[in-house]
Subunit: 368 residues, 2 copies
Amino acid sequence: MNHYIAISRRLRQTPFTAGVEAAGVKAYTVYNRMLLPAVFDTMEEDYRHLKTHVQVWDVAVERQVELNGPDATRLMQMLTPRDLSQIKADQCFYVPITDENGGMLNDPVALQLSDTRWWISIADSDLLFWIKGLAQGAGLDVAVFEPDVSPLAVQGPKAETLMARLFGEEVRKIGFFRYRRMAFGDTSFIVARSGYSRQGGFEIYVEDSAHGMPLWDALFEAGADLDVRAGCPNLIERIEGGLLSYGNDMTLENTPLECGLGKFMGKNADHDFVGRTALETEKTNGIARQIRPIAVSGAALAPARAPWPLFVGEQPVGQITSAVWSPDFQTNVAIGMVDAGHWDAGTQLHVKTPDGLRAATIQAQFWL
Amino acid sequence: MNHYIAISRRLRQTPFTAGVEAAGVKAYTVYNRMLLPAVFDTMEEDYRHLKTHVQVWDVAVERQVELNGPDATRLMQMLTPRDLSQIKADQCFYVPITDENGGMLNDPVALQLSDTRWWISIADSDLLFWIKGLAQGAGLDVAVFEPDVSPLAVQGPKAETLMARLFGEEVRKIGFFRYRRMAFGDTSFIVARSGYSRQGGFEIYVEDSAHGMPLWDALFEAGADLDVRAGCPNLIERIEGGLLSYGNDMTLENTPLECGLGKFMGKNADHDFVGRTALETEKTNGIARQIRPIAVSGAALAPARAPWPLFVGEQPVGQITSAVWSPDFQTNVAIGMVDAGHWDAGTQLHVKTPDGLRAATIQAQFWL
């Protein structure tokens, strides 16, 4: 990291920024025009601690989009190939969102709060604008806005222990990608077993920014003996675990099928959604490229700042979109988009990195 | 600036990033999910140089949205209160974009390239998503996408001299907020007399990223004796000059009337646009708050990172949204949103800054 960040109001602070800065955040990234912590100690120390103890993450950047009104569910179903009639009342539903060409606009998690009310917890794009535009253009009877709701994540092997101290033993009963409303002080929050790591944990949907720092402080107080620390999504851990990042590993140029999200499209979708024709055509014609785990040989590489092109000889066959050195697996771990015919496990390619050409091998699975 | 920026593909590089980094950029901000240089030498040195010589600015973050198809002009007119029938063939048209509540979605500049083709040069929000959604919802016959077009700005008192060396004397004939297509090597670019400073200059719309660095290098070669340097929009100069910043001085919570953009709404608009009803109601009922230049007393303050609340006694009456110390005017210059009844020039308020309470005075005009 060689450059400072110039912060202004436009890069929004969160309800937890005071806590994050008191904890000594060293680097930020920007996500949904909001500050997202990126490093506290070093990326490697943060990684080791996340895999061993418990961390509290300011993920308020997962901005919420609320759909509220008689047409909310109809609009929600227009947005995604996923069949929403299958959603359970307490379920966090991962919903790829596609444009008219089948391109990925976002890959958020949706919660149905009632027949007429949804929250969508978004990745890094102004999905609010797409949904507002669509509703306006189609003349739907629904309000679409960003409510004052900021997720705070508790992640790591000791996350459940810490959460039980704060919210009671009942928190242990929450299933994966399920949620419950739990009491906190004189209010209550939706608590979900979810989060952007493979170490287990929860996300708390903090309604009303004023509750942010009291919750932050309560978690640190309750977890002092667990070595609880401020943390953040960790680049090494998320690549090892195969957690895709919108804007890094997929963009509007990619379809859900290319991103390995075909399972979230009904085999014979009987609901209409934006992009359906394009995606059905792609299914028929075959998928041109797909996301794959890739190992890159040689010494430790600095994190990828821009795509690294993949080659077979002189022929371009895709690109690596996220890459970093893994201390635990002693290789450079990477995620890339690889052309058809070259994506089978074991395939040997070359990748052009800032440190020169390296051997790259398609993996059968992520480093789990 | 106390924090580093963690860069990944998600924070996109531009066609000029190689030049920017070779020139020694020290700090970035993020704008439209893309890297925008913020400081090269120091903010004060950059400011002095901008007001004296000529700078080349990577403003590729002004991403383009192209509307292309039979319904392009109809869609464009739906987006804005401004009457587009008044646009001249060579005009850069500043167009506030409003949602159904009259809230500002963006404040871009539009160019009409033909009857069926527009470019919109956007401020910091995914306006692409709003326009795509609206077109999709309304079933319009138009393609909406981000073309490979990246603006490069040449700003400062010597900008015209430098531009004439590269593009010929004809460049001097371009009027303010007008454009011409000018030859460069074996291609041509749209060149406009515009830019985000009050020092005069041009913006070059670079079509095809591959032309980016050759143009950058040609400008530095032609301007060596003019002390041409890499620069960027300068916080001090833009506040002095009253150049508003979307995301800082106005957000979706504000209307064009609050932002002093009423002049861009026809007195009796006879075209329909999204938000018309809300804005006509606001006009009838009166405007609740407006943007004002504000001087803040006392010693130099660090740039505002978040809004600073304004008070009369204990009563909140608005907020300062951008602020910094001005070396030329020897005061803290600021932009704020001030409630009705408190916005007249000369009004004395107080503002809560990170350095404590300061006197704040509404100015009659910006520091021009």
